[in-house]
Symmetry: C2
Subunit: 99 residues, 2 copies
DNA sequence: CAGAGAACTCTGTATAACAGAGTATTCTTT
DNA sequence: AAAGAATACTCTGTTATACAGAGTTCTCTG
């Protein structure tokens, strides 16, 4: 049976990757938006973003916008590829193909 | 964002539920077949089946067939419902609907 | 410099996945 | 009856990690 990507499979990270993957290539989401979207505490969210970044699935850009710091997270091509494969594997399992 | 079913989300249990869900209602799979399908060790597989049984998602029937013990696992209506909801939630997340 | 806001980093707790060892049950063979 | 084989557990110890919340860093404002 097909193997799922452990990095992506965790619910919070799956949500992050799905949200980023739905965006046009090379655009991202801000930390605050992701926090609202996922409902995670900021410590926890930061840790998961780091896990994704270490895997090379997202890139993180920090900047000051106006007077406030802003972190933007963007899916990398590798991240989009891994997400697509993960989804394909999920669909295969869900469909009940028992090969 | 929609919440996933923790019981079902775990990879091994997802595979078990998907395999059982694909069968005609009221038919099940034997322990040995599930073991082969998932690649789990028997201790681990037994533990996951118990978790699913405790949640009311599967029923477990033990019998002797010929000279050998045989355990058959079957998805309950509740299990099928939970699986369907879980899949719907997954699809929603994967589609990137950020509501 | 005090204070505010954003995004961390760190720490401790709790959960739980997993492999592998040992056990119970049943039948077969001797 | 005792030994052995097969199936499916149950138990144990290790390891990983999710998570909340506290404390920290960085920048700008007043």
């Amino acid at each position: 049976m097909a193997e799922l990507d452990d990095i992506i499979h965790q619910p919070l990270r799956l949500k992050i990757m799905a949200a980023l993957n739905a965006l046009p290539v090379a655009s991202g989401l801000e930390f605050a938006r992701l926090k609202k979207l996922t409902g995670a505490t900021d410590g926890n969210l930061g840790a998961h973003i780091e896990t994704l970044a270490k895997a090379g699935y997202v890139s993180v850009e920090k900047a000051f916008v106006g007077k406030k710091p802003q972190t933007t997270v963007t899916a990398t091509p590798a991240g989009r590829g891994a997400f697509a494969r993960h989804v394909a594997t999920l669909q295969e399992i869900i469909a009940g193909r028992q090969g």
